[in-house]
């Protein structure tokens, strides 16, 4: 069957040179007539639409509404991001992030948030006896030494008197004038809870 024969058959005609295809062409013509012979009834909703002279829905209006929806979504994502950042910041300040995250946090925010002594990023500094003359005291550490004062604890969070962290503004009186700064005098925390306020 050639393409022309097929086209004629589909139109319900029989090619002149192919009388043997007459029955097929006739059947297809009947099929076409029968299929197109019946008109459907419109549903109630469609009948309303056909009777109405109202303008058809404008798909451009839908297209305009889309950017507005996008703006709302972007706004919500931004708000969620800000809230997440604030939560992470708060957790990082409180040193309750997982160790690896805390290290990253401390590196990213080194000055904004003071690090804790327990942080693995800050090794504990052993306190030395007062005889270490190589250590230069900070200006706040030149208070008169008290030989009777208890020896400083090796632990930075010692609760020994004078190192309890409540000696702000009272001067440092921990013996030997050494408060364990070990060159950290300009830091935010000098290791004995003075918080850099060990003024006389």
């Amino acid at each position: 069957m050639s393409a022309d024969d097929e086209a004629m058959l589909l139109r319900g005609q029989t090619p002149d040179s192919r009388p043997e295809l007459q029955m097929l062409g006739q059947s297809l013509a009947e099929f076409r007539g029968a299929a197109l012979g019946l008109a459907p009834r419109a549903s109630a909703a469609l009948a309303d639409r056909l009777a109405s002279n109202e303008p058809l829905p404008d798909s451009k209006a839908l297209a305009i509404a889309a950017p507005a929806r996008r703006r709302v979504i972007v706004g919500r994502v931004a708000a969620a991001s800000i809230a997440a950042a604030m939560i992470v910041s708060a957790l990082g300040s409180a040193n309750v992030l997982p160790p690896a995250a805390q290290v990253v946090f401390d590196q990213v925010v080194p000055t904004a948030v003071p690090t804790d002594h327990n942080s693995p990023a800050v090794p504990a500094v052993p306190l030395q006896p007062t005889s270490d003359s190589n250590i230069k005291n900070t200006p706040g550490d030149d208070a008169p030494t008290d030989p009777q004062a208890p020896a400083p604890s090796s632990s930075p969070d010692s609760t020994a008197p004078g190192n309890s962290g409540d000696n702000r503004g009272k001067g440092n009186n921990n013996g030997g004038g050494n408060n364990g700064n070990h060159g950290h005098s300009g830091g935010p925390d000098n290791g004995n809870g003075n918080k850099g306020k060990n003024n006389n």
Binding site: L28, E30, F31, A34, A35, A39, A42, L46, L50
Partner: protein
């Protein structure tokens, strides 16, 4: 309405009707319904829709809700309309196969039932001789034949509606015609090798 054909006066008539329908003129939407609904209905019915009349209305409601964004001439409109019809049909067939529901036949609910004896006779003839003619074809061949004969689409338009290549549509059409020819007991045409084994 005389919008079929796609050229000359028919094309300009279609363009003015389409423009009026897009503006919401009742006469124009009604003219489109009157012109195209029999073909859509026939297509859905021949392809096995359980409720072709309701489905035809749904197709046209979808058409009218999206018509303002349509651009193109009559051939493009015809492709667009039958694409909508085909998608609706596929949805319905898929839904039915998922549910696995077999409705009991009730003559009083048969959508093919008509009031006049002439139309009734016509419908019976359609059932027995013609609509059943394509039932033996595989689905893809039946789609092509129905869209070709009832919807009057070209090979390229059918390819667009069904999402296939035109070459594949041509092959399906050829196989379908050969199969129908065999079914009607006609001798093989001597000048062509058989395509049945493809």
């Amino acid at each position: 309405m005389g919008v079929r054909g796609g050229a000359g006066a028919g094309e300009s008539s279609f363009a003015s009707t389409l423009a009026a329908a897009q503006a919401g003129a009742s006469w124009a939407t009604t003219a489109i319904w009157a012109q195209y609904s029999p073909a859509v209905f026939g297509f859905l019915r021949a392809r096995g829709s359980a409720e072709p009349e309701d489905l035809t209305s749904e197709v046209f409601l979808t058409l009218f809700s999206t018509l303002r964004s349509f651009t193109g001439g009559e051939p493009e409109f015809r492709s667009y309309l039958f694409s909508l019809a085909y998608r609706r049909l596929v949805d319905e067939l898929r839904r039915r196969s998922r549910r696995g529901v077999h409705d009991e036949f009730r003559p009083e609910l048969d959508p093919r039932r008509t009031e006049s004896p002439e139309r009734d006779a016509e419908s019976r003839l359609a059932d027995r001789d013609t609509l059943a003619l394509l039932d033996s074809l595989p689905d893809d061949q039946r789609n092509v034949m129905v869209l070709r004969i009832i919807a009057d689409l070209t090979i390229e338009q059918i390819a667009e509606v069904l999402g296939k290549r035109p070459g594949a549509i041509k092959a399906l059409q050829r196989r379908a015609l050969e199969r129908l020819r065999k079914q009607l007991g006609l001798p093989r045409t001597p000048d062509e090798p058989s395509n049945d084994s493809e």
